[in-house]
Symmetry: none
Subunit: 119 residues, 4 copies
Amino acid sequence: MDFQSKKAIYLQIADFVCEQILLKKWKGKEKIPSVRELAISLEVNPNTVMRTYTFLEEKNIIDMQRGIGYFVSDSAYDNIIDFKKHEFLTLDLPQIFRSMDLLHINLDHLKKLYNERTR
Amino acid sequence: MDFQSKKAIYLQIADFVCEQILLKKWKGKEKIPSVRELAISLEVNPNTVMRTYTFLEEKNIIDMQRGIGYFVSDSAYDNIIDFKKHEFLTLDLPQIFRSMDLLHINLDHLKKLYNERTR
Amino acid sequence: MDFQSKKAIYLQIADFVCEQILLKKWKGKEKIPSVRELAISLEVNPNTVMRTYTFLEEKNIIDMQRGIGYFVSDSAYDNIIDFKKHEFLTLDLPQIFRSMDLLHINLDHLKKLYNERTR
Amino acid sequence: MDFQSKKAIYLQIADFVCEQILLKKWKGKEKIPSVRELAISLEVNPNTVMRTYTFLEEKNIIDMQRGIGYFVSDSAYDNIIDFKKHEFLTLDLPQIFRSMDLLHINLDHLKKLYNERTR
DNA sequence: GTGGTCTAGACCACC
DNA sequence: GTGGTCTAGACCACA
């Protein structure tokens, strides 16, 4: 990770964690890296990771067990899908379609780009 | 306009101005609202509109004529299209496709939503 | 304020803010002290007040306006009452009644203490 | 027991032990479960139960007999009552009355809830 | 002036 | 070892 985007680092880390879960690299009920571990491996301050974990706990994506660590919550996968899908459909998509109209990009054009993309 | 999003207000206003131009509501070489007028109608601080206009002037989308006001530049329409298209294709689109993959939304689904959208 | 209790300072400050609103000292739509101001007057680090304000914003008790400051939200009073009442009835009260039973304190005794309290 | 509250687990276990004694389930001079037994039945780390027992021993609520186990102390019942009552009257009650005032809950309301409670 | 983020480092309670 | 809180100080973007 390089944190180039303008987005706050702690949110980029949150996205990273969600992605690990969506990709099933970190599965339900599994322990995730400790605050300090992740901070070292991402080369950021532990406070920043702490902020990410607190943020994700409020969203019921991870759970804390006193003195043990953080765990992927039972409903993490579904929660993330629900949350992100809702965000995508109500916030991102309307703007995408708006841009397409203004820029005169139609669906066929998009389809072509979609199939050509580097996956 | 309500400026609810987290995006900076001056950038939201810039988007608004660009949209007026793309929609040909404000055409080439036409005078656009003065800083003060726009500030009043949008209920924001004139400094904020000033910042928008300075920003757009740097991007050669509007021109200033001292003592007269701001005008849509000759090449405004093409400039906006070029800039926005480039941004859309290289920044937005890859993210969109990434989200679609993670959320298991395919092109057919997108097509359906596109055709159903409220324009 | 002296922050004697074991509760985190940022939560004690949150309680303080809620109290100002419940007591109608800070009314709806009114600007509340800036992060820095409150930090100085309470003699704590600005980060601590920031944390309080972020916490209260998530609970829809205060609103932020970019570059201007924080404001008591429209529904702050009702939100606080709802939230605190729910907490009191479902969390505090059962424990209180449990303690009373175990300690053989009955309602008449409580009533006496209630009427004698220093208000 | 599920230890959901934010209170330290060892203190929640201490409360549990005190309750057994107040309810006379564990009577004076009787042997109480060994650290290991209780740890297994509560599904916690033995260290945590150990801490509870040490804590209660300091408060003269239980006594240790080397090589034999822990016992309810002679004065346990009275000690607990005294301690908890003092805590309840000087710490909990003022807060309760304060909350009641702020939330506009009066004694009659409380009385009704008290009589309706699930015992 | 406002809020927001990040780092560095410390200290604490807990398991 | 774990998380949680707090301070101090810096830097940034925004109104």
